[in-house]
Amino acid sequence: MKIPYYPGCTLNTVAKGLDTSARGAAEALGFEMAELSQWNCCGATFPLSTDNVMGLAAPAKVLSGARKEGDTLTTLCSVCYNVLKRTNKVIKDNREKRAVLNGFIEEDYDGSLNILHYLEVLRDKVGFAKVKEAVKRPLKGVKVGAYYGCMLLRPFEDIGIDNAERPTIFEDLLKALGATPVEFPDKIECCGAHLAMNNEAVVTKLSGNVMASATGVGAELIVTTCPLCQYNLEKSAPKVSQERPGFGAVPVVYFTQILGLALGQDVASLGFDKSVIDIMPLLKNKEII
């Protein structure tokens, strides 16, 4: 199985670990992430005003290119996924905007792509049962907080990866990997996202809520699908520790990294070294490596 793959800018730079570990895991699971021959930035935000068709041009260009390479497209970054999937829906459902966009990007794209998040590929194309079979290094005894963030779930009628209020897809994967997912109330809350640029205090507060909520129910590790979430959480951790007595920061890693870990990949290849909070002591402590 070969699935056209859109990495997105962040995965080419700071979130390289998300990209390489996902490709490695795919190989171990018997499918190939075929990177698009040509792609550009997705635009990084879905325009908030409904008449801003211009803001859809960049993702439309990605989509029209991808359609030439297949009928599905997978991506890893929550933001890319959100922007691409919603843009695709607009093109598919709104004849007028489709015409405007196609006229602008000089393509003839109809919205027929099926946009899948990597998690969906694992659930629907590979199957969690098969993932479970492939596990070589079960993450036994690790209490993991699965942090969804918002981009992966909302708006639910556009995204529909899982129940927006009570998702389980992430936990189901973690169970397949042998880990113990913990249920924490803030798992679908926002990390503060782009406010990292201009209002750090808000990010510290929101990311702090998320982490404290997870560690409060015993999480020893937080996993995420989103480079922005990962960045915000890790970045905020020291300040949160100062502000909240009793808070102990835990590592924040990408789900593909621990997927690769569980599938028995070389630990050095997973990009854990990019993390601020080292995961190694935890893994050693749990005798996983």
Partner: protein, 657 residues
Amino acid sequence: MPRIGVFVCQCGNNIAATVDTKKVAEDMAKVPGVVYTCDYKFMCSSPGQEMLKQAIKEQRLDGIIVSACSPHMHEKTFRKASEAAGINPYRCEVTNIREQCSWVHHDQTKRVGTIKSNDLTRMTIERLKKNSPLTRIKIPVKKKALVIGGGIAGIQAALDIAEGGREVILVEKEPSIGGNMARLSETFPTMDCSQCILTPKMVEAELHENIKLYTYSEVEKVDGYIGNFTVQIRRKSKYVDEDRCTGCGECIEKCPFKTDSQFELGLTKRKVIYTPFPQSVPNVPVIDAPNCPKIQKDKCGACAIVCGPKCIDFKMEDKIVTEEFGAIVVATGYQLMPNERFDEYGYGRIKDVINGMQFERLASSSGPTGGEIRRPSDGKVPKSIVFIQCVGSRDEKKGVSYCSKVCCMYTAKHTMLYSHKVHGGQSYVFYMDIRSGGKRYEEFTRKAIEKDNAMYLRGRVSRVYEKDGKVMVQGADTLSGTQVEIEADMVVLATAIVSRDGADTLAQRLGIGYDKYKFYNEYHPKLKPVETVTAGIYLAGTCMGPMDIPESVAQGSAAASKVLALFSSDEMAREPITSVVNKVTCNACWDCVTACPYSAIERDTIKNRQGEVVRWVAKVNDGVCQGCGVCVAACRSKSIDLKGYTDEQVFAAINAF
């Protein structure tokens, strides 16, 4: 050759000012088939009508044209006069030369008005030549009513019809009548206890000589039409002989098995042989067969041993009874939307998140806690409680777009009940708008806020989660523009009122319409609020949409008055404007059956002498047909026609144009 008389009315000067009525009369005399014409000052006056009658007799007329005002005004008058003079009323037609000619053309020359009147009258004459005599349809009326649903609306309808001296069968799905109202604690805005006002009505219905209760029963099949419905009712097996049971309750006492109580909405358990609640009517227990070990595996049988009158029969089976009715009142009520749809509020996941109806049971002195507010998880008295309004209501995305109408009021009532029962407790209400239109309703909600210290927060709740034995409620307070988080002991959701499961199936059985929420459609939202498009079937209560107790009761009475009016005569007469099928040319394609808005067309067969089906043909049921003619235009082979507006009549009129 027909003998037609044309009477042109001057209507004082109303017509005569714009139309030369004398000339119209003269001109029409030249039309073939017309043997008598005249014009007169006021055709509708007594002398005018006398003139018409006399002309019919003297001139041996067989058809009448009155060119006068709109047929909506005096068609009935002239038809009646014609009938009195011995000709069929449907051989009398009215030409509208006032509203649609003289009055709208007084700016024109008199010649123009006269020409138009001539044209219109000539078209009517040609049409009249094709008019067949018709007889009014007489339908005998069976003076017995069926009321479906034994909630407050159905009980009220049944009682009123019974008081009017007519027989009623009241069918209820559950083992007892009472409906949702039986679950309520106190009722707004008077705060009288629901049971106290409902129970006497339930007993009255049980004891009334004109009312027969069919509890634990459902309507299976409905045939027929107004005045003559045939209904099959399934009387589910209670495993207890209703006639012999004394209601002593010994069997319930001795039954060793328990299961969740539906009446108490899972807040407590009940026995496997049970009455839903202590005041049940009839006070006859039923056995919950799927949970009864005796019925399932032939083990136990304790109830039968202790039963004095020996009225328990484990082999009892469902019975189908067929009854005939003249009218049907549908009062099947509502249910609450399944809360599980709202994951953000944690219903079903967090034990101490309950819905409004469950709170009613907690507050009810006959409820599982004896009227003390205790939370389900550990039985503690909640020191702080959050009420969330509009759960599902006014929420197009995840719920329903309409307002459930009673939640603002009952939530205010809940906060009052709470403050009276839990001293020092604090209640919070998240609301969108407080809607308290109604007599003494606004005063009531004000009282909850001002006297009973309910903290009203205008905003929505985003998340409910558990933390250290508390239920945490995150939400927005839009008036102060802040995010709030409340540490509550319990959360109550004011869940949307929705139609009953299976409401659509019943509607299809009855042939009545429903909206996209499966609430039943009234004939006209303002002027015919309890009628349906199917004559003889009426609606009452929340099966039409959310409403409160007084409205439901009023509708029950309104429906009853319609039924009594229908039952006031032995026959009902209807205009004979109905469709008729040409059986020779019918293709049996059933397009007419599909198109008919009234399900008035049936599939019928033609049989030979041996009784074998030779062919299928459509057949119009005169009792149901309302005469719209949709079927006529739908029929390609022109095998169906509408009496009073036949193809020939229309064709003749067009040709005379």
